[in-house]
Symmetry: C2
Amino acid sequence: MARTEISTLGEFGLIRHLTENIKFHQPSSCKGVGDDAAVMNFSASCGAGKEKDVRVLMTTDLLLEGVHFNLEYVPLKHLGYKAAVVNFSDIYAMNGMPTQITVSLGISQRFSVEDLEELYAGIRLACEHYHVDLVGGDTSASMTGLTISITCVGVAHKDDIVYRNGAKENDLICVSGNLGTAYMGLQLLERERYALHSKDANHTPTQGDNIQAFEGREYLLERQLKPEARKDIIAELKKAGIKPTAMMDVSDGLSSELMHICSQSKVGCSIYEDKLPIDYQAAALAEEMNLNIVTCCLNGGEDYELLFTCDIKDYEKLIPLEDIYIIGHITKQEYGLNLIGRNGEELELHAQGWNAFKNNK
Amino acid sequence: MARTEISTLGEFGLIRHLTENIKFHQPSSCKGVGDDAAVMNFSASCGAGKEKDVRVLMTTDLLLEGVHFNLEYVPLKHLGYKAAVVNFSDIYAMNGMPTQITVSLGISQRFSVEDLEELYAGIRLACEHYHVDLVGGDTSASMTGLTISITCVGVAHKDDIVYRNGAKENDLICVSGNLGTAYMGLQLLERERYALHSKDANHTPTQGDNIQAFEGREYLLERQLKPEARKDIIAELKKAGIKPTAMMDVSDGLSSELMHICSQSKVGCSIYEDKLPIDYQAAALAEEMNLNIVTCCLNGGEDYELLFTCDIKDYEKLIPLEDIYIIGHITKQEYGLNLIGRNGEELELHAQGWNAFKNNK
């Protein structure tokens, strides 16, 4: 039998390949694979009634030890918090409200009850904070490390839901917060881990060895270890009377998410290097580590900020909003995905990250 | 910091411990941890309307390679089918109808695209068969084996939902199909795997080495490798106008499930050894392997049959139903959980399986 390596398709290609031609059997299935969350309409299942406006949203995330997290420097409570929040973020990215989660854990013998209490304390804290209910799950032994699978459901009025496919020419491209910061937090943690391991050969590390390295950089660590979902941005947009035309959360990196929105909306985009929201601590660390902060901003993932497009008529409403930045605009599909540099040069954004820029620098 | 081993609590104790005192924030959360599925009422989220009768059910299952399945003898297509069906079974066990699933996979480099096509073919076949829609998921690299996490949602009319806590004194205890068969299928597969490994030392195994061992025992293998969820039983009960007072599916074993129903309903039970539905192929193999088939029936898991209790007034309606067997009745809580042997002797069923029987034999 033929053997095709998964790497030849990549993650997105694999998902597309495995889920193509899926047919729906249920009238309640509105939207399946291909957005931040699936959309279901259960009010139709009532058989009647006028109140058919509620949609149920559903998203799921699998976190595996050694792939998505390293317990050498990620505290279990933070991990639990983050594992929950990244799911909430997907529901907000549909312009919905997360309401319930289930949590499945695979646990090896290495973990004690106290470890799991810590992990759950983080999950429960996130649930408290975002008013989401933990309603079920599955707990199982694991032969290897820790596995965390969280599924989140939420609700939205059918007219409020924002998909990835609604961006149109001349729409403004906006992001919340800043980008690349969580990635720089990860670099900092990885650097200190490496330094600690190197030292190990020569001397026993003492408490406080790392404190200096982290001083003044707590924000970077927080962005990596304890991200928040932008519930506040969703509320702010609603209050301002703005409904984005397309939206998703930035988990894989700005370039990758722009590629999703543009391909699903059948449009192109131009974003401006000097408009990218970059945190000064992140920029300083990038400088110190000889990394290009713009590359980090475009390709560093896990910021869990919202990326969305708005009709140009909403420009005046957008301006006064806090922590929302206009970084570019939507173009015709044939123009492709472009970054306009500080000197006006155009660089193509590539689907698999920002390859063109690497070649040009 | 103190370290408490997870084994001191056990799986159910651990779940209880981690999820105790969970408070709900959402009016849509009706029922959380502690049944086959969570129950949510999203029609209230509409804000108004008379059609508030639909409930959304949600269940999740995590399957880990080396713990829940062994790819040495489980074909990937069967694994996909089973992974989906066990979730459907949880929704039927609430007297609901499964409607959508999400599938998350953690995949190591060992797997090819063709392998995943096989796995998905099984998942999709199950979805076809049960009219359930695959609406999302997450696919990720894994450092170790294969991880499958499936979450299923479904619907039920609020008056139809059957929980674990509704059994009352004098209710009849019923099961569908037969029990212990999937466990005997597993024993058969394990025996042949062991035999094959032993042979390996002396000679190269040839195709057909195992065929003889499996001949006439296809049903046992099917029960283990390709179980079905008892959608037909749910339909049969509905048609007969019977609503069970308590119900769950048999995934961990009859004793364990009876313990759940009795503790949640605050009742006891008596079941009769000579009423236990046992398949003759399973009994023959148990004999051959020197296993006690009654023990297998009580403690072997993965049959995915339905265990339910019915009001005694439904007795006449139950009798003509196909593939449903009355195995005992509900008693006062203080009588405990008992098995009445063929000679009238009473043996206590223990929470962690059937320890009393072991001591008595």
